[in-house]
């Protein structure tokens, strides 16, 4: 029992550190990548290659005053950033970084992640509403509509995956994909539409995390900064960290469900490195997309979900069910 408590504390610290470090260094990665895409250099003054820049930014954020504007709902206003951050960290608990490196290998891991991930939108809604700012309220309304629309195709795709894998345990799902040909993205024997399912999942996770080209709820040229317009200091910082944590979660799930998780295709390094390599490749793509495409329209976004993604994912669900029954 003692060792179990130590284990939980160790993993708690590890998960929070991982989430915070990721948030900090994904900002650095994003800035560097954006800079190179745009033929600039990016941060370079603080530390080698600007590597200490996120630390300095973090210190700056933490030392700033938290402004609570007049007219806001004081409790909800403070609660929202916390609600944005905590569920994101909770999701990390069941992510298997390698076969052993998982905080809690629970059988309902996948379900738990989705349960916690959907709290995020509540945080955006509360933050936008409590801010008593018109831009923030519009943004919150957009965020909810968008999340509702994209939760559906995402969950349908996940149900398809659960039907194929037969388990909700993430570690078991990874264990079923030992080499590249057995990665679920290429498992055509389960359904010929597996790459499409991956694409749907990826697009939905972009939309769920409010990343460009679906960043409508924080569209800076329309809504200034969206739901976090009124937030300063670490209030903003927590939203920010929560957003990056969600990107990591979304990409991790894509890696686990479709790209073989910690499975090592060539036998070069231990599994955890493979997991991180795959994860950061996906995150790199997420950032790459952001700095390439303009933003979609809101109705275009909803049309994409309701008219294209949901029918395709439903069709895929039926097809997979048929395949499972027949073969």
């Amino acid at each position: 029992m003692d060792s179990e408590i130590i284990r939980v504390i160790a993993f708690l610290v590890g998960v929070i550190a991982f989430a915070a470090l990721n948030a900090a260094y994904l900002v650095w990665l994003e800035r560097k990548e954006a800079a190179h895409i745009q033929r600039r250099i990016g941060p370079k003054e603080v530390g080698p290659f600007g590597l200490l820049q996120p630390m300095v930014d973090g210190i700056k954020l933490m030392t700033k005053q938290i402004l609570i504007p007049d007219g806001v709902d004081p409790i909800l206003f403070r609660l929202a950033p916390i609600l944005a951050m905590i569920p994101a960290i909770m999701c990390f608990v069941t992510i298997p970084f390698s076969q052993e490196l998982v905080a809690r290998n629970i059988n309902l891991g996948l379900l738990m992640i989705f349960a916690f991930a959907s709290i995020n939108v509540l945080a955006l809604l509360l933050g936008g509403w409590a801010s008593a700012n018109k831009y923030a309220v519009i943004s919150a309304a957009r965020a909810v509509a968008q999340n509702v629309a994209y939760e559906i195709p995402m969950l349908i795709t996940v149900i398809t995956m659960v039907m194929i894998t037969g388990t909700l345990n993430l570690n078991d799902i990874v264990a079923q994909q030992p080499n590249i040909s057995q990665w679920y993205i290429f498992r055509f024997s389960a359904s010929p539409l597996m790459p499409v399912a991956f694409l749907i999942f990826f697009v939905c996770s972009l939309a769920e995390t409010n990343r460009a080209p679906f960043d409508l709820s924080e569209a800076e040229s329309e809504l200034v900064a969206g739901f976090h317009t009124e937030y300063s200091s670490m209030g903003f910082g927590l939203f920010f960290m929560g957003e990056y944590a969600n990107i990591v979660i979304g990409s991790s799930l894509a890696v686990i469900l479709f790209l073989g998780g910690w499975q090592d295709p060539f036998g070069l390094f231990p599994g955890v490195w493979w997991f991180l390599i795959k994860l950061y490749c996906l995150i790199f793509t997420v950032i790459w997309i952001r700095w390439t495409y303009p933003r979609t329209q809101f109705y275009g976004l909803l049309n994409l979900s309701w008219k294209i993604l949901i029918p395709i994912s439903l069709f895929n669900l039926l097809l997979t069910a048929g395949f499972l029954k027949v073969f």
Binding site: A34, I37, Q38, R39, R40, G71, D73, A132, K134, Y135, V137, I138, A141, A212, P213, D215, L216, A219, E220, S221, E222, V224, W291, T292, Y293, P294, R295, T296, Q297, F298, Y299, G300
Partner: protein
């Protein structure tokens, strides 16, 4: 707990877009009456950067006002220079040497390209695409360097003089300009691949913000906004000034009337401006760059004079009333964006906020030029 949003008793609310908002590129403020995300009424509120240049024009001598012209439209300052110089030359009957006219056309067209590049970047930025802005600024930097080498400034040029120019160009400018045109010709297809053919962008601006021909005429909109609605109206062709008739160039006209058409007009104009510059460089004659006998103190004869030029944003007009003294009795600047923006209120009615911002971006607003 108080909420500023009327939730139960009223359907609409007022949203103040600006004067400090990322999409208004400066200090334009638009008072939007919204129903959800739909705009019921939009009322632009101007004057945040009003400097009363016209009064300054009455209190300065004709020559002293020249630097003011570059400060009205900071993106195509040379067009304003050109308009004012041509106006006073018209009033005084000063003949400009041929070489000076050629150099005027070259520099004005370079300035037009740089203005369109800034617009291109800023427009895509309005639509949420960040990177094209920096590519466009990269190209614009070449133009600014070129113009700096000949005019001495990078943004608010004061290069034209009555009867000619302040400075002659050198070899480096000619080579640099040719080099720039070469690189720009390679870059334009890249812009089209990256931006114009992008499905998200097409969906954002195609059929968005249609402006009918009649609306254009009723509001006196000109420039790329008019040409995007199928109106073949360009002062350079319709009311030729300087030596534009000597050059072979086309006026891009699109009939779709939407934001995409206005976008395409400007992109095509970059190519047409390069054609003009190339021809001008080829034909560039030797000779003086200043008219020989320009009086030190200008006293245009009594009467009023009008001069129109095509700036990057449309028909720019200046009306001077002279009472025969060394200062203008009245100097009116007709800035194109002032008229172009005035139709925003009518066209944006019933649009969604992001679409209205796409429309506003496609109008190519430069606020100091509206407010003067």
């Amino acid at each position: 707990m108080s909420h500023p949003l009327p939730i139960n008793n009223q359907e609409s609310f007022v949203l103040n877009l600006g004067p400090q908002h990322p999409a208004t590129h400066g200090v334009l403020r638009v008072k939007l009456t919204m129903d959800g995300e739909y705009i019921m009424h939009a009322e632009p509120v101007l004057g945040y950067i009003h400097r009363m240049h016209e009064k300054m024009g009455e209190n300065r001598t004709w020559a002293q006002f020249m630097p003011n012209t570059g400060r009205m439209d900071y993106l195509s300052a040379l067009s304003f220079n050109h308009c004012y110089a041509a106006l006073v030359e018209k009033a005084m009957g000063i003949e400009v040497p041929e070489r000076a006219e050629y150099l005027r056309v070259i520099t004005v067209e370079l300035n037009r390209i740089s203005s369109h590049l800034v617009w291109f970047g800023a427009f895509i930025l309005d639509l949420g695409g960040f990177s094209p802005l920096l590519y466009a600024f990269d190209d614009r930097e070449h133009i600014l360097d070129l113009l700096e080498s000949v005019t001495g400034s990078r943004l608010t040029y004061c290069y034209f003089r009555f009867g000619g120019l302040y400075n002659d160009i050198d070899e480096n400018f000619v080579d640099g300009t040719r080099e720039f045109i070469k690189t720009m010709r390679e870059r334009l297809p890249m812009y089209h691949n990256l931006v114009t053919k992008n499905i998200i962008l097409i969906k954002r601006i195609k059929d968005i913000g249609p402006i009918s021909k009649e609306t254009i005429r009723k509001y006196g909109a000109t420039g790329p906004v008019a040409r995007g609605s199928g109106i073949d109206y360009d002062i350079r062709k319709n009311e030729p000034y300087s030596i534009y008739p000597e050059f072979d160039f086309d006026i891009p006209v699109y009939t779709e009337c939407d934001s995409m058409a206005r976008y395409m007009v400007r992109m095509d104009e970059i190519e047409q401006s390069m054609r003009i510059i190339e021809q001008a460089l080829d034909k560039l004659p030797e000779g003086p760059i200043m008219a020989p006998k320009v009086p030190k103190i200008l006293k245009p004869p009594k009467g009023d004079y009008y001069q129109a030029v095509e700036s990057a944003r449309g028909s720019l007009g200046m009306r001077a009333v002279s009472d025969g003294t060394n200062k203008a009795y009245r100097l009116k600047v007709r800035s194109p964006t002032f008229s172009n923006l005035s139709l925003f209120s009518e066209v944006s009615e019933g649009m969604l906020l992001p679409d209205a911002l796409a429309l506003m971006g496609s109008l190519d607003l430069v606020i100091p030029e509206i407010d003067r």
